[in-house]
Symmetry: C2
Subunit: 297 residues, 2 copies
């Protein structure tokens, strides 16, 4: 029997990789091909083809092209290792978080809409200088955001479950929120973080504070966002539900800026993902430990 | 005769300053009051009240609340010192430059307009990681932009008239432009820089490059921007003419993102300007050298 195959979206496959087959996202593969797959990279963003896993009897590794992995864990067969794409998307997400803050605080979203009317409407913005920023989550994304904010002159606190050097414990959250200008959500979606940003959380924030969500929509309760929007500002790259239906109230609620889950998706993504996949396949074939292991079936 | 007065917009006057009078922008002062002014802070942004200078016989210092000073130089009487607000606006302008780049490269302007339609329209953006950035101007603004871009992982070159450590000479411009992804204009408006960004300049840029103007509208030739827009992207915080008339073609030209000259105008401005004015008045009264002297009448 031949070596098990590497099977990945064609644009994520390193060039000249032996024993690898690329697929076009949205196309249905041969059942025979799936039976030969040992290393599988599901399709980008919501992994619509994760169901193929059940048809891969020789599967050993699922290498996700995303940082988020919550949707794939329940589908993982016994003995299969799940890896995420930590390192590939963090800086792109940090760029978006910083860009979204500046967009809301300097009114760039309003300027974009004013262009349609030909309206030159000067208003004073808010500066990040001396702003009090809280980042919830000290993983790759939270750390990248903190690092990227350094030259902006804000006062940044990173919060996580466990106390570590330069990270405050999440237990301090309720005390810190009232003295915060910007809260950035950079946590994975887990039982603990689902619905974390609810009415109680938002009520602790002072008028005019900004909440930035670049993690998962379900970390915040949409009804509670709607309740506080206007008093608070929101920059949401992720929503619940997602995609947000055309008629959803969130689109037209003042104080809400929405981007369509573009956090990690830049031209840096295929480049860095190809590099990661190349290295992981090398480890897998040589029985070396894999990086970014997030679960084992 | 009493000490000459400090005369400044009321929101820029340090609290508890003796011998100082605040004025409300847009209001006409008493002629008698003007005759007593020794230290004058003109109104913010375009200095609409710079004409008052001619009615201030005891004037010694004009302290601008802006970095740009070109419009006031011709109005400066003999013996009067002109100071700008270097240090007050740079970081706010750097924030805007960075925010404008992320807005254009990640499609945040399109996302703002898509919100009106309720359209969730995911597209891949461009990342600053490894982008080749050229900043023209090594003054306060150019330096602040370079510093702020540091954690973004781009390859930044600062150009200025004279070679200095970590600054390349402007003579290299023509050679550098074809290998540039983003050009940021951060020069003062002078005879040398007026119209610098013309058809010849823009023709040297590769398709898809982005030009960011946070200096003065007249540094670029509007007709030439219109000629290259689409092939190139533009993020313009300043335009010629300014304000841009409602029916101007620039508003609706694809590849152009316009903000209404908000570069230096954030909530950090009154705070930092008050501090500067306080220190300058102190120097003036004690015959100490002033900071930020840009011209002498």
């Amino acid at each position: 029997m031949a070596e098990p195959l590497v099977f990945a979206p064609d644009y994520l496959l390193p060039v000249h990789m032996q024993g690898a087959v690329g697929y076009r996202e949205g196309h249905e593969p041969d059942a025979e091909l799936l039976e030969r797959v040992g290393f599988f990279v599901p399709a980008y963003i919501e992994h619509p083809n994760a169901g193929w896993i059940a048809r891969m009897p020789r599967l050993e590794v699922v290498q996700l092209p995303t940082v988020g992995f919550d949707a794939v864990v329940p589908k993982l067969p016994t003995g299969v290792t799940l890896c995420n794409a930590a390192g590939v998307h963090e800086q792109s997400t940090a760029e978006l978080a910083v860009g979204s803050i500046i967009t809301v605080w300097r009114g760039l979203d309003r300027a974009a809409r004013d262009m349609v009317e030909g309206a030159w409407s000067h208003r004073r913005g808010r500066s990040l200088q001396q702003a009090r920023v809280v980042i919830i989550g000290a993983g790759g994304v939270g750390t990248a955001i903190a690092r990227t904010l350094e030259p902006f002159g804000c006062v940044t606190t990173v919060l996580a479950r466990t106390r570590r050097p330069s990270v405050a414990p999440i237990a301090d959250l309720h005390e810190i929120l009232p003295r915060t200008d910007i809260v950035i959500l950079a946590v994975p979606l887990t039982d603990e973080t689902a619905g974390m940003v609810n009415d109680d959380f938002l009520s602790r924030l002072a008028d005019g504070s900004l909440v930035v969500n670049v993690s998962r929509g379900s970390v915040a309760v949409t009804e509670d966002i709607l309740r506080h929007a206007g008093r608070l500002d929101f920059a949401l790259d992720v929503t619940e539900p997602e995609p947000l239906p055309e008629t959803h109230r969130l689109w037209s609620t003042p104080g809400v800026f929405i981007t369509p889950h573009i956090g990690g998706d830049t031209d840096a993504f295929p480049r860095l993902a190809q590099q990661l996949i190349g290295e992981q396949v090398e480890c897998w074939r040589n029985d070396q430990p894999l990086r970014n292991v997030v679960a084992s079936g």
